[in-house]
Structures are given as C-alpha cells and as structure tokens.
C-alpha cells in the first residue's frame, strides 16, 4: 500500500519471534529475514534485526510493483536458494493488508517442502519439528522432518519489543540488498496472474435508525420491539 506507514506485519513478527526462540534454545542457529519489495524498507528491517534476526536480505526492484502472491513466492524461493542451506522456513499465516494467505503455501510448493499451516505451537525435536495446528474443529499434532516450512498464527507467541541495547546492536548487523538481476529472475514468472478489475468501498446498506427515549427502559422497549419485528429474536 503506497503511502501507508510501513511496518512488519503482525503475523510476520510472530514468525520472527518463533525463529529467535529456536535460536535461543538450540544455540547454533542463524536467523535471517527475507523480504521482497518494490519500496524502501530499511527502517522496518532494523526493527527485525533489533528483535534478534542475525541478517536481513532484501530483494527490491521497481518491477515488483504489481507482483502477485505467486511472483512473491518465486522471488523468495530464488533468494532462499542463493542464501544457501536452511533447515526451517517460518512465515506468518497471512498478511495484515491483503489477507490472501497464499504466499507461504506457494513457497512450500516451489521449494518442495513439507508444509504445516495454522500452527499455534511449535518445537524442534532433533531433525524434525512437532507442531500443533488449529483446524476448524480440531487440534492436530503433526511431525515433519527438517527442512520444512511452517506458517504461524497470532496466538503462537507474544513478539518481543526490542530494548535500546538491542536496537544499538542491530545497527551493526548486515542488510544484504539484491535486485532482480542478482537472482537471475525470469521476467515471465514475475507477471501477475490475477487481474484486479475494480476496487470498491465495502457496501453498507444499513438502516442507521437511532433509538431514543426519555428513559433507558423506553429505549429498551422500542429496541426490543424493532428486533422482534425484524424477526431476528427468538428461535
């Protein structure tokens, strides 16, 4: 969204927090963030580094302006390939602006990884991860061998707020900038496969009737009567 203040999506913060916790528990782990963007996001990445990421990778290109979820997943996959070996890809379940919730799955497809979505609890056990997924009417416990991709929900953790010390330390951490050319991206894979025909204000056709009265009892009586007439009260 051009013009809107940029920030790390809440869901992505949950994913980052979870990655940092893995590092704190296991020790010998590097946490890197990967961002695909058409805009300047340095300030946002400083926050990720302050939270505890070790390095940040940014792939930015003006050509990414109209990139869709498939294109984003493609660039992420190419970037991850260039960064090198990895054990775990953590994503937020969805983004806060578009709420598509497609990128994680598409990335898993491109990387050929086992995928666990809607994850509310997560532990690394040797060379595997054990997760709890929240389904519509059940909690599912699932195990997969590393490397794997996990997308997390908001309830998994409370992301930390970096201290001044962490913010200072982060200024020394590395932000690696790449462009489309650095990743040998194929142009035709970046083209959007969807076409936005129209963006409309959400429709509201509400009655907007104010119920007033001398006393609260009178108001309540009028409201109850209106709701009974609407047929929305009672079985």
């Amino acid at each position: 969204m051009a013009g809107a203040p940029k920030k790390i999506s809440d869901f992505d913060k949950n994913a980052l927090e979870e990655a940092i916790r893995v590092k704190e528990k296991l020790g010998d782990v590097e946490v890197v963030t990967v961002t695909v963007t058409s805009e300047d996001v340095k300030a946002v990445l400083r926050e990720a580094l302050a939270m505890g990421a070790d390095r940040a990778f940014v792939v930015s290109d003006a050509g990414f302006q109209d990139i869709d979820t498939g294109g984003t997943a493609y660039v992420l996959a190419k970037a991850i390939g260039k960064i090198g070996e990895f054990s775990l890809v953590l994503c937020g379940e969805t983004s806060l602006d578009s709420f598509s919730g497609l990128v994680g799955s598409k990335l898993a497809e491109l990387l050929g990884l086992p995928q666990m979505s809607s994850v509310r609890k997560f532990v690394v056990e040797g060379d595997a991860v054990l997760v709890e997924r929240t389904l519509e009417d059940a909690i599912e416990t699932v195990r997969a061998k590393l490397p794997t991709l996990v997308s997390v929900t908001r309830e998994i953790n409370q992301p930390r707020i970096p201290s001044l010390m962490m913010i200072m330390k982060a200024s020394k951490k590395e932000i690696v900038n790449w462009t489309a050319a650095d990743l040998n991206l194929q142009k035709e894979k970046l083209g959007s496969k969807i076409e936005v025909l129209e963006v409309l204000a959400p429709k509201t056709e509400r009655k907007k009737i104010r119920i007033t009265g001398e006393t609260v009892e009178e108001i309540a009586d009028k409201l109850a009567k209106a709701l009974i007439q609407e047929g929305v009260v009672g079985r």
């Binding site: 994680g104 995928q115 519509e136 059940a138 909690i139 959400p202």
Partner: protein, 321 residues
C-alpha cells in the same frame, strides 16, 4: 487443444462443499457447462448422493486408504492430476485450514493464479470468473479475475446458502489416481474444546469491546445472550490485549454471519466491521455518539451498556416470553 470446461467443487468440509454447489450450479448454468464435485477420502463415495442432490451433475470419487486424513501432498497430487487430465474451466476450493494451502499450491504447481476467500462469485460477459474479496485491511472490496485457466478460487464457509436437496440424476465416477506419499505425519487429532456452538454458527451474537470495564461484567452479556438464545463474542482488544477471551470477531479473528449482532461498547474500527458485514441486523450500543459503529448499524442506542443491556434483557423477556 480442447478448451477448459466445467465448474468443479472441492472441499474437505462436507457442508462447505454443499454450500459451494449452490453457487456452482448458478455459474455452470450461466456458462452452459457441467457442475462436478470431487470427493477424496478413504471411503468417500457415501457422500456422493447428497452432492448430486445439491446440484452436481457428476461426482469424481478418488478413494484410497492413504487419503483417510487430509494431508497436503497426497491430496494435492490427486487434485492436480484430476485437473490436468480433465481440464476444468473453474475450480472452487473450500477455504478451510487445509483447503486454502491446497488451492494455493495447486495454482503454483500449475503456474496459474488463485483468488482467495471470495465472498461473492459471478461470471462476466466474457465468461470469466469474477471473485470479490475484502482487502486492504478491510477497507475495500476487490473484484478480481484470472488470466489463465483453470480459474481457481477459494470460498469461505457460510458465504453461500446450502441448496435444498432435490432428487436429480447425476453420475458417480470412480477415478484411479496415483497417490503421492505424505511428507508430514499426523500424530494426534483432538477435537477443539468448545463448550458452546461455534461463534461462526451462532444466530445471535452479543459482543463487547473496550467499553466493557471488567472481565466479570461479561455476565451482563451472558444474560442478554441467554434470553436471545445467542452467544457472547468480543472485539480484538478484549482478546489480544486484555486476554479476557480466547477468540474474537473481526477480520483477523472470526467472520460471523448471525441474524442479529449486538455490538456493545465497540467503537467499530474497520477490521471489526469486516468481520460482521454479513450480519442481517446490527445493533450498536455505545456511549460515544460519534463512534463509527453507528454508521454501519441498523439500530443505534447512544447510552451506557451497563444500563442498556439489563433494560434490553428485561424488555425482551417481557415482550417475547
């Protein structure tokens, strides 16, 4: 190459598949094509009859012991195999926790697009599928079409009405498809511990926001919900910040579609409104007469929820019971 034909429906949630068949029937009729339901499971054929009664012309049944539980790789393999062989025009996938990743990966595997979470679907003059979805954090509705076929869209639960069952003729076809091995192992499945009906299924919801001062005051809402045979919900701050509830109504929480939604002490930020947009009647009770919730309410009461709720409870009891 022959062109893509047919409207397909798949969901791992049976009720959602039925809801999608109602809409799918309308789209297929408009396109003059067949409506196909895909059933996948260890023993899935038993459900075929109901799918036909809800509008399917044809049901493809893929049965294999390895398909007992929904897992991405085997289900995705089956779906992409079927889609590649039979070349449908439109594939609607139920937007469940498992269905959405399936649709996303199917689109990626076929190198095509996918419109997620369409609350409305139609076919335009050129015969293209047009999906409408809420975007920009709830501030807008985008109408989206796809540039290639098959056209994949996901459909959330309760977006469309389940059709009336009708006796009609349909064809059930068993299809043999090679099943890929799962890359994940389901260790355990526990039913979600909910004492009540799920809030998405509630007909009446009495919901509170920051205007509620203490957790214990929830009892006021419980009592009103009791006389309305409804359920209690809340907006995000009460769940996320104050931790008084475990789940909330809104764009990032549950999207609800009750007959009656009573918003008490809820200001009505756009993210909350996006979650209640499909309610039949919305009532707003708020001390602040400028609160944006009044702009999207059918009935508004400017007042203190601590006075209005007990009075409303009494009034309903008196007039109804």
């Amino acid at each position: 190459m022959s062109e893509n034909k047919g409207v397909w429906i798949f969901s791992d949630m049976h009720d959602l598949a039925l809801e999608m068949l109602g809409k799918g029937r309308e789209l297929a009729d408009k396109l003059g094509t067949e409506l196909v339901a895909v059933l996948i499971g260890a023993s899935a054929q038993g459900k075929a009859d109901e799918l036909i009664k809800c509008g399917a012309d044809k049901v493809y049944v893929v049965e294999n012991p390895a398909l007992e539980q929904v897992q991405i790789e085997p289900y995705l393999g089956v779906l992409s195999n079927l889609v590649t062989s039979y070349r449908p025009d439109i594939v609607l996938v139920g937007s469940t926790k498992n269905g959405k990743p399936l649709a996303a990966r199917l689109a990626m595997r076929l190198d095509i697009g996918c419109i997620p979470d369409c609350a409305r679907l139609s076919v335009d003059d050129q015969g293209r599928l047009v999906g409408e979805r809420i975007t920009y954090g709830g501030n807008a509705v985008a109408k989206i079409a796809l540039k290639s076929k098959p056209q994949i869209a996901t459909v959330p639960a309760r977006a469309f009405e389940k059709p009336q069952l009708k006796e009609r003729n349909g064809q059930v076809m068993k299809v043999d498809v090679k099943v890929d091995a799962a890359k994940t192992e389901i260790v355990e499945t526990k039913p979600l511990e909910t004492s009540n009906v799920k809030i998405e299924d509630a007909q009446v919801i009495v919901s509170c926001g920051r205007g509620l001062q203490k957790k214990e005051d929830k009892a006021l809402l419980d009592r009103l919900a009791g006389v309305l045979y409804g359920q209690v919900g809340c907006s995000r701050p009460l769940a996320e910040d104050r931790k008084w509830f475990s789940e909330w109504v809104g764009l990032s929480g549950h999207k609800v579609k009750p007959k009656l939604y009573i918003a008490c002490g809820i200001s009505g930020v756009i993210q909350h409104v996006a979650g209640i947009r499909d309610a039949k009647v919305i009532v707003a009770i708020n001390k602040d007469e400028q609160a944006p919730i009044f702009e999207i309410a059918d009935y508004g009461v400017v007042g203190d929820l601590y006075q209005v709720l007990p009075a409303l409870e009494e009034a309903i009891k008196r007039q109804l019971h």
